[in-house]
């Protein structure tokens, strides 16, 4: 009992301290054990001490934390959808894999985490790990990527702005702000370089992003996600930008009708993905389609392969940007 009371007192002190002594998201003092609080998707998370047992619920969250050098502060990962990116592989091996697919509510609790991190609010439902309110009630703070919570961010914030806000928040929570700021600066540079493509475009090329194919129909990038923002940055128009959802299910006919000049194909290779979803299989499906096979982008293989999860918000999202810029140049749509 006394331990609980002490913890409660500590938490209360932290709340008071952070409320009166510091603006949101700032450390109260230099010490590693002082209180930190950040806002995540409508909830204020307060950490009396730096979390040491973080659990990530999906690969993008996993790799983002690994990129910040936090392997030693993680108690487990789950739901790997693709190969781990080479720079993070060694660190990934040091953290227990709690589940190959979605973590269950019991699995999360059994790992005894002190924070749960996810890229999507949809992870926090009763049939998955439990709702965020419920987990908050048992003293487990949950961080959800700001990209999946655009209403919460400042007006006019782009998905990359929100992604960088995640990095800074992780920096505050785990006491690695320097590293987080460095990562923001690096990726900001990639964005600025990619934006220069605009000036060198020939005509007005367009692109379709195909994430996955399920029951024979594709899920493509609509408006509001990372791909749509990549299109905005580079000036390579997303042909489904008029659909107000991030990943709408459309027909192959609709893809053919909108005549994208290039197609970005998401590569999904692990067992956690639906079958027939490698980039090569997607291309084969399109080649076998009577209408789509006549589309110049398909006929002449003007396709760009990226790891599908890189189109989700995460530390690897800038790779899609690089790949698109390279591809558009390679296919002669820009100098």
């Amino acid at each position: 009992m006394s331990r609980r009371a002490a913890a409660g007192l500590l938490a209360a002190t932290a709340v008071i301290l952070s409320a009166c002594a510091s603006p949101a998201g700032e450390r109260t003092s230099g010490g590693a054990s002082s209180g930190v609080s950040v806002t995540s998707c409508g909830q204020r998370l307060t950490f009396a001490k730096t979390p040491a047992r973080a659990v990530t619920l999906d690969q993008s969250a996993t790799e983002t934390l690994l990129a910040l050098g936090l392997a030693g502060r993680m108690a487990g990962t789950a739901f790997r959808k693709a190969e781990i990116s080479p720079p993070y592989r060694a660190d990934y091996g040091k953290v227990p894999v709690l589940s190959a697919k979605m973590l269950t509510a019991e699995g999360l609790r059994a790992a005894n985490p002190d924070v749960a991190v996810a890229s999507f609010t949809a992870m926090f439902t009763k049939d998955r790990v439990g709702t965020r309110e419920e987990l908050r009630g048992i003293g487990l703070p949950t961080y959800v990527s700001a990209v999946d919570c655009p209403k919460d961010g400042p007006a006019g914030a782009t998905p990359f702005d929100l992604l960088f806000r995640d990095y800074r928040n992780y920096g505050h929570i785990f006491g690695v702000s320097d590293r987080a700021n460095r990562l923001v600066a690096e990726q900001r540079k990639v964005l600025d370089e990619a934006a220069r493509l605009r000036r060198n475009l020939k005509g007005s090329p367009s692109v379709a992003y195909v994430y996955s194919v399920f029951n024979g129909t594709p899920y493509v990038a609509g408006k509001g996600g990372i791909p749509s923002e990549i299109s905005r940055l580079t000036g390579v128009r997303n042909v489904f930008d008029d659909v107000g959802e991030q990943w709408p299910q459309v027909t192959w006919e609709a893809v053919a009708q909108r005549r994208p000049d290039v197609i970005v194909l998401g590569d999904l290779t692990t067992a956690a993905s639906p079958a027939g979803n490698t980039a090569a299989q997607k291309l084969a499906t399109m080649r076998a389609h009577p209408t789509l096979s006549r589309l110049p982008a398909v006929r002449d293989n003007r396709t760009i392969t990226v790891t599908a999860i890189e189109m989700d918000p995460g530390v690897r999202s800038v790779n899609v940007l690089r790949a698109l810029v390279d591809g558009v140049r390679r296919f002669g749509h820009a100098d």
Partner: protein, 372 residues
């Protein structure tokens, strides 16, 4: 079927008058009743209760992380105000917020579905009747999808409420379509199928028009039936529904016996056929809607358990209904335990397990009864 009444023996006198017209074996007892006396039935029921208790006690330990009785005892003890050391917060939550309600809900829902199936098989005189025959699961999924996709409100409690409302809406439509005739069995079945198809179509249209991959996944998963969303509030709601449903069904045991021989027979022994059917259909719709709203459409329990139990204790509803409830509870407690551990640390929807286990059991029962 007008036959001469057999000379009455104690076993036969237990029967509803309509049942006494059944073919009987040489001892004078109906062949299907297996000559069980009241006392041996009581003993069998007590044994069933013990099996259910043991099943709950054993399966509560089984899951992604196996628990010891010490931990379960401590979680319970703290709630009862006993002087035990509380578990660490997250383990306590695993035991108290997830595992216990889940196992109890499996028992409650299993009982609800089995009773539902028993009643509908009698009312519609259709051996293939199951709790979703009236289309409530389709209606419930329409309600849930409409809420998720069209965004009317939010949160999991919202989904449960919307699913329940959808189930009742489909039942309301069914009753509206059936209002002109005397709730004839064949019409109930056909209209139920039609209403179910209509609501499935609406669900598909909503999903296809505006849902993303994530919503599709959530709904598909939910439609298969999963005990994962079980929490104490759903246990309480379902337990209340189950008690009410069981009580009403038990009160209507004799009319149910009559109805299983057809409306004419039932009417000839004084059963108010239309009212009785209306009451029983309403009760099953409420039971099925509550179950579906809580954990999705878990298949096969409501179809197989009544047949299996009828095979053991005979067709008298006074006996059949409580035994079906017991058997359904035990069956779902164990299938859900399997769903938790077969592909651990992942869980599979319990609906997949009930079908995998249910199909061979169903075949076995039909074979034994010489119907296949």
């Amino acid at each position: 079927m007008p036959t001469e009444p057999e000379p009455e023996t104690p076993a036969v006198s237990l029967l509803h008058p309509a049942a006494r017209a059944l073919p009987v074996d040489e001892d004078g007892a109906p062949a299907a009743a297996h000559r069980r006396s009241g006392r041996s039935l009581a003993a069998l029921f007590a044994l069933g209760l013990a099996v259910l208790g043991a099943s709950i006690a054993v399966s509560v330990r089984i899951g992604v992380s196996d628990l010891g009785y010490g931990e379960i005892g401590r979680a319970l003890g703290v709630r009862l105000g006993l002087p035990v050391e509380p578990l660490p917060g997250l383990v306590d939550s695993l035991v108290w917020d997830l595992r216990l309600p889940r196992v109890l809900l499996a028992a409650v829902v299993g009982a609800m579905l089995a009773v539902c199936g028993t009643v509908l098989q009698a009312v519609t005189r259709n051996a293939l009747a199951d709790p979703y025959l009236l289309g409530v699961s389709s209606g419930a999924s329409t309600g849930a999808v409409a809420l998720v996709v069209l965004g009317v409100g939010a949160g999991q409690v919202g989904i449960t409420g919307a699913a329940f409302a959808g189930g009742l809406a489909s039942f309301g439509l069914l009753m509206l379509l059936l209002r002109r005739d005397g709730l004839d069995s064949a019409r109930i079945v056909l209209t139920g199928v039609i209403v179910g198809q209509l609501f499935s179509a609406i669900t598909s249209v909503i999903l296809m028009s505006s849902a993303d991959a994530e919503t599709n996944r959530a709904i598909t998963h939910w439609l298969l039936g999963s005990m994962a969303p079980a929490r104490w509030n759903t246990v309480v709601i379902c337990a209340v529904a189950a008690v009410v449903g069981l009580a009403v069904t038990w009160l209507y045991a004799t009319p149910l016996d009559g109805l299983s021989f057809g409306a004419d027979t039932a009417a000839s022994i004084g059963v108010e056929v239309r009212t009785t059917r209306l009451v029983l259909l309403t009760v099953t719709a409420l039971l099925a809607s509550s179950a579906v709203a809580a954990v999705g459409a878990i298949g096969f329990v409501g179809l197989i358990v009544p047949h299996g139990v009828r095979f053991v204790v005979g067709p008298l509803h006074r006996v059949l209904v409580p035994f079906a409830a017991l058997a359904g509870a035990v069956f779902l407690v164990w299938t859900d335990a399997l769903a938790r551990i077969v592909f651990s640390p992942q869980e599979i929807p319990v609906g997949a397990v009930t079908a995998l286990l249910g199909v061979p059991l169903f075949l076995l029962v039909l074979r034994r009864r010489g119907e296949l």
